[in-house]
Symmetry: D2
Subunit: 337 residues, 4 copies
């Protein structure tokens, strides 16, 4: 930690800061500049920067060590590659996931899966437990939904991803699902994250609506700290003042995360924009920016979808997009799965 003293801070103030730091178990390294004195605090464990900010004569306090370790590129230089049902995410690989917002019925899942299979999809998504803003909205089929998606996936030789909302659901998900998703609203449900560190299936963690990159990485750190090394990050739009799009999809997440972390970074353009006609251009953009994967909502008949039909592609649209992706990916050095 670095403590920047104000211009004109006196000896007494500097001395008090030094004593405070030492009391907290840190060593104080004082370096007196032309205009300002800077004090480095090293060697201790925990100190809240704001405690020092309140001392007289202090201008600013700066944390210089990032709080995450296991997720950092410093800890692991080479890209983590997560492989599910032959599909690879990370490194030079671009994995694709598609499927409806919600599992509605066996028939719906089967029709959608059959359509997607033709476009090469090998991992299907579909919600069984749905986080809904309103207590009166459809909350998903629950375990029955997981049974359906598993059965359909097995029939079509696909793997399954679905959102887990609560600790008590984890055993169910370990039974039915290949990738466990953590939703944006649960990105800082730390109890859930800690438990997911104990599972040995890959976990995909979405970015919270107002989460900084650092907080997001810290949440991934919770999972890795439990021993689970197969963590994937998924950007799905942040909340800004704009109202025409549901959220603002932040594609700079791709180069930023790839620099800070070795974990795969996926994009969810469906929630990120909220409207079908924005999904296709933003998917292509994600690939061109170098993402490691895409998770896209597709429904065999979006007009009759129970949920989020407006942001779901028609199977033909997905197929067309898939062909575009296969053209763009090699330009940025990626192999499409």
């Amino acid at each position: 930690m670095l403590i920047i003293m104000r211009q004109g801070a006196n000896k007494n103030e500097i001395e008090k800061v030094k004593l405070f730091i030492e009391k907290k178990g840190f060593d104080a390294h004082i370096s007196i500049g032309e205009l300002q004195t800077v004090i480095g605090a090293v060697g201790g464990k925990i100190m809240d920067p704001r405690d020092i900010e309140l001392l007289d004569g202090v201008s600013e306090v700066i944390k210089i060590t990032s709080s995450y370790k296991l997720v950092s590129r410093i800890f692991q230089a080479e890209d983590t590659i997560v492989t599910v049902n032959g599909i690879k995410f990370g490194g030079n690989n671009l994995g694709l996931i598609a499927g409806p917002c919600t599992v509605e019925s066996y028939e719906q899942m089967d029709k959608t899966a059959a359509a997607l299979k033709k476009s090469g999809v090998k991992i299907i998504r579909g919600g069984a437990f749905k986080p809904r803003t309103s207590p009166y909205a459809f909350q998903g089929l629950g375990e029955e939904g997981l049974e359906i998606i598993r059965a359909v996936a097995d029939k079509h030789k696909m793997a399954v991803t679905s959102e887990v909302m609560e600790i008590s659901q984890i055993p169910l998900f370990e039974k039915y699902v290949d990738i466990l998703q953590v939703g944006a609203r649960n990105m800082q449900n730390f109890n859930l994250l800690r438990e997911l560190g104990q599972t040995r299936k890959p976990v995909m963690i979405k970015r919270g609506l107002s989460a900084t990159f650092e907080e997001w990485l810290m949440s991934a750190e919770y999972i890795m700290a439990g021993g689970n090394r197969e963590v994937m990050l998924c950007e799905r739009g942040i909340r800004t003042f704009e109202r025409i799009t549901r959220n603002t999809l932040d594609l700079s997440a791709i180069p930023v995360i790839k620099k800070l972390s070795h974990l795969p970074i996926l994009i969810d353009p469906s929630h990120g924009t909220g409207l079908r006609d924005k999904v296709v251009p933003m998917s292509r953009a994600s690939v061109a920016a170098g993402c490691d994967g895409l998770i896209i909502e597709v429904h065999h008949d979006p007009d009759s979808a129970v949920c989020d039909g407006a942001q779901s592609l028609y199977p033909e649209q997905y197929d067309e997009l898939y062909h575009d992706i296969k053209k763009i990916a090699p330009i940025v050095g990626k192999k499409v799965f």
Copy 2:
């Protein structure tokens, strides 16, 4: 729901919108204006506005019924008043809660409670389970923390409020605590909210860092929908681009919530600003704006606090603030508890 057609939308497009609405189980009321046609959709159950937005000729779709019911002033005109240990929140009453961020030890809680008692505090706060961004940070004393705060509160004839993070902790909280808090990061942990609807102790729900007023009310609706009528809302700052303050405390929450809902609205100026020297002016401001309660971090010795000492008041500061509050409250028609 109202569908605004574009200027120049043709008969065919209008007819298709009508058919779509009717297929979804709604009646369509078409009113042809000078410039634009407006179609009202009434009587049905659920329809995603975006599904219609995607139809040809549609300019905009507007939801006209708010999604919350039980929390609304339309449902209940008179203010809900929550009473805990003789302290009232809501109506003409302003309740005060104070205490440290975290339960550290019996001695710390006892000293703080003894100091606060002199300033009339009858409800003490203190975290036993702490939501921490980092998995490596102190996570609270757990059940031991709850035992300590209960014992100290009983000794000083105080009630207790503390944050519950997870469904499995609810029985513990029902045993030790008088008000169950839901933290900002859990505001949309819908499973937790649903379970809290089953308890019969008051629940205080904090506003999420990027939650709209409507979403916040919807989360309170989850709790009320379970049958728990004693719900309190607590503003604790939203996330904006500003960096000097930890969050931006949104005091307009007070008049806005009082207009939309009958539930008490409290302010947490400690998390809302993150710095002790901002807590006092913002507390006074909250009272002048008409809040129904304040929850303020106070530590008997902030400099040695394990957590959030920088935003904790010294007991003497709290006492001084308490006297200011007692002067300001009557000017806005409030009685201080």
Copy 3:
């Protein structure tokens, strides 16, 4: 305008709203629904929705006509194509602009232009008047800067774009420059916009740091209302809570603007990210999303740049990017200029 009455609003309240609307010169069309009455206000000129929101019994007021006209796709269905020095922006065309942040000297401009020429650049950028947050920072070379960039551009057969900050500078810009830029901080400098409506050179207007799409289009409307039809929009990042990137580049601007307006939409990935290593991926992403142009900062020697060197590409990097762009553009149906 549509006025949604509350559930249970009484006849008296409805009557008062009707009278208010009529007093303002509008006709009131009342339609009584099952749950709520909706009143349409048509035919009048100006009415502030909030005036009605304050009347008793009113739940919500909705504006149904967008405020912009000339910039709208409804007004003009076909894409506006702006051509400068043979470079086309809009329709199926993707125009490229490159150059340094600031004009520093003849030598610097000449070297940069010579390097860019090899990569096909035909429009060069460079600031002569610089909007700087600090009054003590370098404010640009002024008219001398315009003279230099013009001379260099003429030598290399290029066109020139530069930022105009103030009404009194317009005659200078008409003399030296081919495209007049309006900076993000001046997006709502309405006096400047009105005057730019009088010029007959193309104007490129950047999106303000917290401007909605609608406000941005309204600012373009100011320019078009003065008779200037050659307006281009340029996204350059919005302000959010994130700190690692300088701004959050909102690429959804591309599909959104293309739907609402016929004007060309350009992307400035240099200001949008603020760091060189993010510029390349975000440029490729912009092209894949279908943008009509890119304006990219390139300096012959970024390490010695007076300003924004950190976000400027090396000429070799630009050349490599140019080749990627030429590969991606045809996939999305664009011809690169």
Copy 4:
């Protein structure tokens, strides 16, 4: 400037940073810590932190000197007090300004002024040149408006404040007006600010919709750098994701600015909330938080106001508020003017 090297940065990387710094005219002070090396750069003039961030081995770069000087409390410890027509802003003084959004006619201004006079108002506000999002909206009466407000103010022995939008209007304002306002949208119109540094009348500068506190102070610095010492800051709400209020009024501006700067901080609760019923509670809150002044919209007949009637108080409401303010101010050590 402080350069924090990554953990494990090697000697070669450190050496390159040192050379870079020295090339830019700074001295490099290297201090090697247990985990990380920190390099201080002192003595030079200008260096873009991002240039260093891009060098190998660099983790983070921190600016340690704030860019503003004249506006800072370090430069001037005692509060600046601005006095206009006997009304004082700053120090222990709380000045009040009231009046309509826009000058509509002599009669309107006269009626409003007569009403306000009874509540002790000595400075009247009213717009003559109006910044409007739409080119088709009413743009104000212009010079005629200034003549009217001046005549009315003289009749009632009041001073005048009004918004100046453009450099060429400054002479007019020097003739008619006592306080020149800079609107939120012009907060970074640097050319205008520089010219306002040359006037010798007080200038009130509003905070931009997405301006940080530091940027706002930098804009005030532009004015002070020109020699004008009578600068006042006015918070009027920032843009966030919330939609119910027009803006989010950030009252933490009061304690933050009072700590960083000696300049008076005023609050505009009318634009800050956009709705009359929120103006009264937020005004009281501002006073309790310790603001140095309030500027409040009042119209003799808000229902017939040309502009912003919905956020204008009735004269009786203002009078009631005035009495509340006089009760709250002494509690926080302020004298009301």
